[in-house]
Symmetry: C2
Subunit: 127 residues, 2 copies
């Protein structure tokens, strides 16, 4: 776990890049991966920040951690801790300012019904 | 050279896919390549369709042909012949309808001045 010092506060996640310094190339390399697009889509659809563990992904935990890392480095998400939960927030406004229209363009998958629903629905109670 | 028959006319380019049947995944895999993005940017900036040979690309002719093929298969460009010149047209309206906002999002590179200028400028006359 990386510990950095910022503004006199202890912070358990690495610093986040300035979105304005990120290239379109890096962003496209991030979102060309369907698992990473699913993370973005779920954060985009959610009304709140989501803990890593609450986003259902078809990959191992370590692979998921890698995908979150790539999205953070590409300026798409901000990560922070609440207790032991690593939370994820879409950097919607900053990203929209740097790459206008791109987040909206990614929504076509959800609108076409190809992506997963935005939040896991509780299943029926066990019989 | 592929020759297909369509509407009773001989056509020297393969049929073009319906953009509405193309996945966002395929489109992103097409535009994640910077050479292919340059082709799209030059067609987007040009006021007319462009022959393959008029778009200056830092790759061999056969590699360029491959890139045009990928863009055609991803629904981004339409190709046709005028004499012996293979012309390229951005499928702007169809693509915008299927993937709203995506072409606009790609323009950030040109607006930031990272991409090449839309058309080659004539150099100074030789001394």
């Amino acid at each position: 776990m990386v510990t950095t010092q910022r503004n006199g506060q202890r912070d358990r996640v690495p610093p986040h890049p300035d979105v304005r310094g990120i290239s379109l190339q890096q962003v496209l390399e991030a979102v060309v991966d369907p698992v990473r697009r699913r993370i973005v889509a779920e954060l985009d659809a959610a009304a709140e920040d989501l803990a890593c563990g609450t986003i259902d992904l078809p990959v191992s935990k370590s692979t998921a951690t890698h995908h979150f890392h790539v999205l953070r480095e590409a300026g798409l998400i901000r990560q922070y801790y609440v207790g032991t939960s690593r939370m994820n927030a879409l950097r919607r406004e900053e990203f929209e300012e740097a790459f206008p229209g791109l987040l909206g363009a990614l929504r076509v998958e959800r609108e076409r019904g190809r992506a997963r629903p935005p939040a896991a629905q509780p299943g029926p109670p066990p019989a």
